[in-house]
Every structure is written in C-alpha cells, then in structure tokens.
Symmetry: D2
Subunit: 382 residues, 4 copies
C-alpha cells in the first residue's frame, strides 16, 4: 500500500487520479506507466488519501467533481475525498483563477503546522507536487530558508518550497515521507533541500517531470551523438491550450522552464549547440493536446548537411500522470530502502532536470536501465 | 594499418574513399564516424588497397576519376588505384548501366581463384561490400552453396554470395580476413556463411548498414517502449534519387529491403504493431539526399492518443560511409581477436539486420555501449 | 427537391447520407459543403430515394443499418430505404468482400433494362457514383461501347461504364438525368460518353472527386507558379486504412489513380516538374483518416533553394461526401439549364480530372469563382 | 528605364541588387520574379542609381563591397555606387550595429532638404524601403506629421516616416516619384500619408512585402474557406538567423509584425479563428534560411476533424527581393498612369498588409489576376 497526497489538483493530478482508478478497476490498460506490473508494489496498491488545491472553485469540493471537469469519464470511485485548502503564494498570479490559501488566514509557520497535523491524520507516505509552474529563486543556505519561514517572508518563498519544508518537518516527526516534485522549481537540485531531506528521513524525486518534447529531444540528441554527427542548431516549439501554457505566457515562469530544458543539449552532445528550446505560446482550442515542432540540422560524414523535423500532437497531462503512477511506488520503495536525500537513478529517467545539482542528463534509455536496476528489476537489454 | 578492399565502387564507396582521405589529410573533421579517434587503430591507419566494380564505365579507370563523379572535391591522393573487374551476376539487371564481370570470360570457380590471387597480391585484410541491393535466396546448407559454385549455377548465386565465398577461401589460405556486408543480402544472418566463416578464419559483419530512417525509427520505438506507450501504427516512407532507390523500384530487390526493416518493430516493442515501412519511390532530382517521412500513433496514459510525425532530408551515402570507417577498423580488431564467424556486438549497432540469425534488434543506444565494451573502450554512460 | 440515387453504398456514400440527414434535421452545421446555403436549391431539398451496392452483406439491408456501420451516430431518419442489388463486374475483385450483382442472374442488357425500370419507379434525378476504384479502359467509339453491351462482354466493361450507359438510356426515356462520377474511371473525360450524354438529355459531372491531398497540392503549385518559383521536384505520399486504400494496393486500380493526379503538375506549373504522386499504401489502423506527406523543392530569386513539407491527417470520406451535397444540387440545376454533356465549370472545382478530355486543371480558387458564376451566384472575390 | 534608390542596404536589398545584375547579364533565370518578362518594362531596364544606409560599416563603401558580404557571388557590375548616409531614428536600437545618420549632424528638416537635393541629382524615380523593422505609431493628421518634422521630434518619427515625407516633397518638386514600402510601418495604410501622396504626385505601394509563411498561410486559408471547412485554430512559428529576426526579438518591433499578420485570418475566413501567428525566435546558424512550422485544425463534413502541418526552410531575403524586381517596374508604370496615392491592385498581391487602410486581404490567386489586369496584362486563368 502507498498512501498518496496530491498537491495541486489540476489537469495532471486529475488525469492521474482518474486513470489510476480505472486501472485499479481493471477497466484500462496501464499504457503510459513505464513499469506497469513489474514493480513489487502494484498499481492497485496506490491509494490517494488527500488532495490540496488553492483554486477557490475546487477547495471543499469532492475529488470526483473536480476530476470530472478534466475527464468526463472519471470513475465514481473517486468520491469521498474532499479537496483541502493548500498554500498558494502567488502561484496563481496573473491567471484567471481566484486563489485561496491557508496563508490568507494564518502565518506560514502556522500553516505548516496545520498541514503536518492533517498529514499525520491521513498517514500520508508520498506527496506528489503538481502545482502550477512558479517563478522562484533557489535557496543558498539552510539559514536563509529557515529565516524566510520564521519571518513569514511571502515574497521569498513559493508554494513548492513551503510544501517541501513542511514535508521535511512531517517526515522527521513520523519517520519518513517522499516528495515527488514534478514541476520546475528546484528542490532536488537545491542542495539546501537535499541536505534538509537527509536530516529528516525524507526522499526527494525531482525536478520537473520528464514529459513532452524534451525527453524525446534527449533521445534524438543521443542518437546523433552516438554517431558523432555534429549538431549545428536545434529549434523546438510547443504550443498548447491548458493552464500550464497559459501560466507560461508569464515571462518569469517561462524562464524557469527554459533553464531546465536547455541543459540537455550540453549534457548529451558534449558541446552547447546553438538552440532555441522553450514553450512558445498559448492557443486555447488546442486544449491539453499540445502541438510540438522541432528542427535539427547536423553535419554527417564528408561534410554532408542533414535535417530532421519532428512535429506531433501530444497529450500533455496523461504523459506526466503515467509517470506519477511509477513515482508514487518508487517513493515508497525509496522509503523502504531509507534512501533519504535524492535518488539520481530515479530522477535521471523521470525528470527533465534530474537532481542532485551536480549531476546532468544522460541518455534516457541508459537511465531507464539504471533505474530498473536500482528498483531491483532486471535490466531489459543490458 | 588496415588494408581495405572495396567491392562496389558506387556512391557509398566513393564518399567513403573521399571522406577518408580528407580526414587523413587533416582537412575534414571525422563527423559521422561514431568512434572517430577513440579506437586504438586510427583513421589514418586505414588504407584502401583495391577496388572492384562491374560498371563498364568504371572498370579500368583510376579511383580518383570514379570518386570525382560523386564528390567534385575528391582529393588527388586517391590517384594510383585502378578499379578492377568484379562479379555482377544480375546485380545491375534493369539498371541503365552496362555491366562487365569476370564471369563473362570464365567460370565462377575460375573467377574466385582469380580474385583470391589478386587479393594475395594486395595483401587485403578487410573487404567492404557495398554492391547494389540484390534479389537473393539464402542458402540452406554448405553443400547447396558449394554445389552452386561447382556447377557454375549463375541463377542461384548473387555477387555478394560469391564474394563472401571467395573471401572465405582467401581467409583460409592467408590466415584471416574480414567481410563487412553493408547491403541486405543475408550473409551474417545465413548460418551457412557464418559456419563457413568459423571454419575459414573469416570475420563477417552484417547485414545491411544501419543508416537512414531505420535506426532512428528504432530509437523512437525504444523511447515509446520504455514509457510503455502502446503503438497503434507506424508508417515510414522514403524517396530518393540515387542508384540505390532506382534499383529498389525493382520489385524483387525491394522485397529484400522490406524484410530487413520490418523486424525492428517486434524486436523493440515486443509486439508486432501494424506498420508500413519500405522504400517508397525514386525521384531523380532528390539525388543522394533522400526525403523521409514517418508517422507514429500511440496510446498514452488514461487512453490518450498521441501522434508523432518525423520528416527529414538525409544524405544517404555519407551516413553509411561514416560507419564504414569504423567497420574497417573493427574488422581488423576482430581479426586480431580471432573472433571468427560473426560478432553480434558490432552488428547490433552498425547493422539494420544484425547477425547471427537468431539474434534480433536491441535499442541502438544500448548496442552502442556494448559495442564499445567489445572494442575495449569505456562505455560512455553505463 | 432533388431525388438522388446512390451507386455504391460504401464509406463516402454513408457519410454523405448521414451528414445530409443531420444537416436537414438542424443538428449539424453544413461544414465541408462549399456552397452550403448559397444555392437556390437548399440542402433540405435533397432526398435520397435509392441506393445500390454489390456487397452481399449490404444488399437487402435497410440503409440505416448499412450507414450505422460507418457512422455510429447515423440518424434514424435513414430508415425506410432498402439497399438494392447493382452491377459489380470485378469491382470487388481481390477485396475481402463477397460480391453479388444483377449480372449474376441475367445479361448486362437485361440488367440495364431492370435498372432503368427501377429508376423510373423511384423518379430518380441525380445519380451519384461512388463505387470502388476500378481498373478500366476508356472507349474509343460509340460502336465499341454498344457492341460490348450487346455482346455481354464483361471483361471489357466496368460497373461505372455500365451504370453510365444505363443512365443515358434512362435520361433519354424520361427527359433528363444527371450522373456525378466521383471515382477515377473516365466518363466526363471519355468523349464517347460525353457525346452519348448530349444525345440523351444527360448531364455528366466528373471525373474523380477533388478531395484529399491533390486539390491542396494544386493550390500549393498555383501559389508557387504565381510567384514564378521554379519547382524542382514534388513527392506526395498518402496512406490510409479504408477500403479505397485497400483496393489501391491492387496495381491496376492504382494506375488509374496515378494517371489522374499527375496531370495537375503540368497544367498548373506550365512544365512537367519531376514528381512522384500516388497513393502509397494501406495501413488498417489509420482507418478513414489518412496520413498524407508532401515534399516540394523549388528555386526562388537569386538561385536560392527552398523546401516545403506538408503533412496531415485528413478524413477521406467526409471530404468527398461534403462535395456531393453540392454536386447533387448542381446536377439538378444543370438539368434545369439543359446543360447536357458535361460542365467544365463544375468539374474544374469539384473534380481531380475535370472533363471534358481536352480541358486541364486551373487553380481551384479561380475555378471556384467560375463555378459560382455558372451557378448564378455572385463571385466571392472578383 | 526605371531609376531606383534603395533605402536600407541590408540583406534583402543586397540580394535584390545582386540578383538583378545577374539577370540583366543573362547569367540567371528570373525565378522568384512573378511577372518576369511579361511587363512592358523589362528587368534590364531597372537601374539602381542610389543606395542609403545607417550602418557605420556600410556608409561610404562601394555597393559591390556591401553586397558581397551577403552574396559571395555578387557581380562586379555593382561597382561604382557609393552607399550614402540616410536617416536612422532608433531603427538600429538594441542591435549590435553602430548607427550613423544625417540627423546626427543636422535637424530633420535639413536632412530632408539634403536628401531631396541628392535625389534630384540622381534623378530617382522609385524608392524601395527595406529598412529594419521599426516600432512606430501611425499619424492621425497631416498637422501632427508636419508638426513633428517642424519641431524635430525624433521620438515621434521613424526613419520610414521621414523618408516617406521627404519623397513626397521630392515628388511634388520633380513631378512624380514612387515609394515601395516593404516593411511593416504603416504608410499605405496611414490615411495621412496616402492623402499626402495624392497631393504630391507620389505613388505608395505597401505595407510589408508579402513573403514568408504569411501569403502561403493566406492561400491555405482560402483553400479551406472555399470548401467551407471550419477552422478551429492556427499556429504559425518561424525562426531565423538574419538581422530581421534579431530585430524582432525586440518586443516592440515584434508587435508591429504581429499586427500585420493577424488580419489575414478574419479577412479570408470571414471569422476570427483563434490563432497564434508571429515571428518566434532568433537562432543564428539558420541564417537567412528560416524554419517555418504551421499547424491548422479544422472541421470537415459530418463533424470530422482534420489537421494540416506545414514546415519548411525558406530563404527570407530572396523571396522579398524577387518581388521588388516587379515593384520597381510597377512603380514606374503607376507613375506613367498618374495613379497617385496608393494602388490596392498592386498591394493586394505584393503586400502582407495591403493599403489603403479600409481594404483587407483577398485570396492571393485572385489578387494576382487583378494585379495583372491593372498592369495591362492578360489574366492568366480568368
């Protein structure tokens, strides 16, 4: 059994909840879940025990009602969980959503205590963070982080940072908890949080779930690197109509995204080929099924110039939601292994920006094998 | 030093010769050569000592003149080698080329003896077969093969099969030789030839050099398989204007190509997703820079349907020629290791249809690491 | 009122019937119908009065049941028409369908008489031919056509040719009828049939409904021609999973398709740019939504080389079905005008291979305006 | 003879000059010039008599030297013209270029007088404006424009506006001159300038030369509109590596571009389908050959959803340069016709944002025919 708490009940979390219940009921194949039936912890062992959001129209609602807005075929088995009020700290700024948060009524310190108490009651084990992409600044020292909380410095902190801090508190008190950070805010890549996790029986997976065009780009670049083709330039566009794309029209949020994605080029090619890789725009009718376009130009043998163009329509939320089904279970496995801090073997496959900070990207196919071995599975091809 | 003999001085062999000499002269980066400077045998150690063809307009010409028709910037250092007369056996049938072959003047048995004698004189070590794609039938027994040669059965044999047989004779007599079969004719996948090689101090690499859209498709399929996405269908087109595409307008030749390429789907996905993968047409103005188009549809988490479209312009001949720069050196290394028969570790990365017959395709990125280890190099990511 | 008889109750005819009834019931916008509400004859004036097929599993069934297999949302208003037995003459050869036809029980001459009598009873006005693509040979003289019918020469004739002949008989007897030939068999381009039509109060529209990639290619070529860009080459692939694509895997049928489509290049560019334009393959899971890919290379000012790649997923049957909603009404208008023979103004916009034979393709946007004027509408932009 | 003065000797103007001279010398086909040999004024009649720029590294240089930096095969016949100092007014702001302008040494009023005197000496007839894209504000009244010049208000005016004003002065004095505005600044769409032109014997063509993805998008939209397909959304990206793309990374300049391009959607479809159409980014290695990507989704008959994706590599500068070869000649023809003010027939085909203001976009293929008729040519298809 894995007891999961969701932080941010938006598109991804709703598809996660809906698909999970359908698979558990035997109504859906576990497509899009990399380890499907292979792990000792089965998909049917995952139980969602709590859900938090800061959208006024969701807080207090039944989970089934919220999920149904995203997936008309949401199963009734989602009934019975009430979406609770979380922390926002500007995370919905400039979005057409009315935000409510615990911090509207109390200090951050009190909000943290409030959350820890709720989680004890829920006996939460794994926390999945799928908040809206935030503009953030990493922390430079434990002191700075603790001071910001102590002084209720709401301009310095983001929701994700406060959640991570609260989970560390909780993990320390109850003896262990895992935090899956599926958004770009640096947590597994912030040494301050990794140290805090080690001291608090906490496992962090992160940062930024590896979905969409980027892991695919990674494999394309690995393909070229292994043939020693020299990449001249890379352009990658993507445009979508979900809230995540709307949020990224905000320049500062977009910046955090850009930072993450660019590191793959140098990591995989060994040189920093000129590239333009960033979310490009918002176009409402595309909905959750984004349009991606990529152009790569490279030099082959004898000076020949080749070109590849990749386009596609990709459902954004299901891609990440499927990974979360693994990450919830791997979080529990890591707790069983007492692998406190962060776990590069997991991050390298599942995250765009795999922590810890000093580690980079490796080809995903290699990462996949290493992750399997970490999880106690046979490698598939090695 | 690796002493190389080319069989089939067409586009690929000419780009190979031209690029090789430019790299040796320090005028070109070794882009497109996967192992570039990493092998103990360096690129400058490769020496082309002989070249065979059956195009009446090439036989007897200086190598430089022949190569220049394909690469106007061919270096003068190619001068001094005369293209010799080889074996054709219908390999130019239906192509607008006048064919001449040793078999026009003598029996196949005598032709083989003639070739073996020439190779002794050239002190050949590695033979690179880049003949035109042939329609062929694999052999079922050593006896059948030997009988066909004995009885001068020109309808049963192809040029590649006769060359492979002749090289086995030669390897047996001189104590070792390697045969790189870069075309679809099954040699490394024909147990008769692999057995013959083991008995004759011969190394076979094959079959069908892994270039063009197929290895890329392989990596795309691996990418999807590792995320457990369920592939609904795959369509892959390619159209080009070089002689290889012209030859493939011949239905029987096309069949050999089709056979090779389709095996990757089942090998990599684990199920035989419906697919249409074959060379599609000939369009002269495209020249050696073919146009490829691929469409893949798959199911992601929660039943979502995604689509990928990949198009590109890819120089056909340089892609294969770059691999040959490695294969020539790996052939010599295999001889030093006495790895007679065929070498799956090499074939799995460099060949579309990696022999021996009982082995299938694995993800190329994994194959790349295994090949490095076989060659005594550090793996790059493992 | 327009009384319509369908010949070939397959995918296109079923979508036509289903969409038509939904529009008439006010449940669907007339998207995909070029002239929508603009014609004096309204969409609600179209009435399907008869339907013919030769698939044993359809003949004798209610139209609603047949249509429902193609469109699960087919409206109940289709009930009440029974699919009748038509003529097959090899039109289902090599397809996995059991064929039944009037000619199984009687001579072609008797079958024609039988049909004419049924049509009199139905008071048919416009016949829409959407049979499976056939391999055919045009007729060279009226005598040859009449002799083939007289002598019951089933190898010389196709279903479409027999239908066209029968409709001419019918039109002569009742004073007028229109034949919309939406498949590649040359009827509007066969002078024998055009002459026959003129003598028989018959209107022919044809040949081969202008849907799919071809009219779009036509507009792309017009775009380039009007800027005097010099087209170097054109490749166009398409692959689908409906019966039409399955039928085209038959080499001879494919040839009729290829013939039609190629003429646009020379007609629109003024020179015959090298091209490869033909249906490429069958891939069942694509269903009716085919995948198209097109590559065009051209020379711009100062010798610059540009490239365009167009890919898409296009629903095959609705595209043609939408045109039929206009063609049925234009057929009636042509009858009112006594425009016997064939009408280039209509064909030039709606047909891939617009008859009569001596006329070629013109840019579709121009054709659209001319067609409007012929139909008594204001041009839209002129 | 047409005596041409270039304003802005950048990429486009240099390709224009180079290609023009090659065609005049019979060394190049007039590909990319829509009317090629059809006009009564021939290409060889065009003479470049002056060139202006504000890049310190170009001013005072021989035209041949400047052009050669863009086209290594520039013909020697370009020698003999010295690039003169023009007006900048922030047009190079934020670009890595040192700007020099007449206004550095004198008032705008004096600069205008200086230019008019130079032009008299050059006997200029047609002025081609290909300055860098500017951020601008249109004028609301003649008074406001005249006051801005009188008061030397450098913040209110852009280079293009000052040039247009100066040319009006010149045209009034010498009896006629034409101004081809190939950049987005509204001139043909600013009623103040059109009125000024009518009063001054001046012809204006504009605004923003119709090249790149936009006119192609226009034809695609016309294609869909004429079949009554309902467009759900349109995304169009383009990324390039020339100075124009670098300039557009500046947010304000980009806005002027965006304004222009969006109008086509409503003009051609009749409704404002959601769209995202704007230059997307700068990627230096792409150079002048930009990468474009477009995605269009629409509803066809019976509610079917289709998708088109268009990608391409297009040389930016030659596309516009080829149009300028026509526009220079049409400018002279308009002067001969005394068509003072602006000429919609010309603008509708050659311009993205065809003036006058009250007129919109029409399908380019129709516009092409109307333009031919205006120029005294036979229509091609009507």
């Amino acid at each position: 059994m894995v007891r999961v708490v969701i932080l941010g009940q938006g598109y991804v979390a709703s598809i996660f909840a809906s698909g999970l219940e359908k698979i558990k009921a035997g109504k859906l194949e576990p497509y899009g879940v990399p380890l499907a039936d292979e792990l000792p912890i089965k998909i049917k062992d995952i139980e969602i025990v709590g859900s938090y959001d800061v959208d006024a129209s969701k807080v207090g609602k039944d989970l089934y009602e919220v999920v149904k807005a995203y997936d008309p075929e949401a199963p009734e088995s989602l009934r019975g969980i009430t979406v609770r009020k979380g922390i926002h700290l500007r995370s919905l700024k400039n979005l057409p959503i009315e935000a409510v948060g615990l911090e509207d009524e109390m200090s951050l310190k009190d909000a943290i205590e409030h959350l820890v108490n709720e989680w004890k009651e829920l006996r939460a084990e794994v926390f999945i963070n799928v908040c809206t992409t935030e503009a953030f600044v990493p922390f430079e020292s434990r002191e700075e982080l603790e001071k910001a909380i102590e002084e209720d410095n709401r301009d310095r902190l983001t929701a994700t940072q406060v959640y991570a801090y609260a989970i560390a508190q909780y993990a320390k008190e109850v003896g262990g908890a895992a935090f899956v950070n599926a958004i770009p805010t640096l947590i597994a890549n912030d040494p301050v949080f990794v140290e805090l996790a080690k001291d608090s029986n906490m496992v962090i997976f992160g940062d930024d779930g590896a979905t969409g065009a980027t892991p695919f780009t990674a494999d394309v670049l690995s393909h070229l690197a292994q043939r020693n083709r020299y990449v001249l330039d890379i352009a990658q566009f993507n445009i979508g109509g979900n809230n995540d794309f709307l949020a990224l029209t905000d320049k500062e949020r977009n910046k955090s995204k850009e930072f993450t994605k660019s590191s793959i080029v140098k990591d995989l090619l060994g040189y920093d080929a000129p590239h333009y890789i960033k979310p490009t725009g918002f176009l409402e009718p595309l909905g959750d099924k984004k349009f991606i376009a990529m152009h790569i130009e490279y030099v082959s043998f004898n000076g020949a110039h080749d070109e590849l163009v990749i386009t596609g329509r990709i459902n954004d939320s299901p891609a990440l939601a499927g990974l979360l089904v693994d990450l919830a279970r791997l979080g529990k496995i890591a707790l069983d292994k007492k692998a406190y801090g962060t776990v590069y073997e997991v991050n390298a496959f599942y995250m765009k920006n795999p922590g810890p900070k000093e580690k980079g990207n490796i080809p995903r196919i290699i990462a996949h094998e290493k992750m399997r071995m970490w999880a106690g599975l046979e490698p598939k091809w090695l």
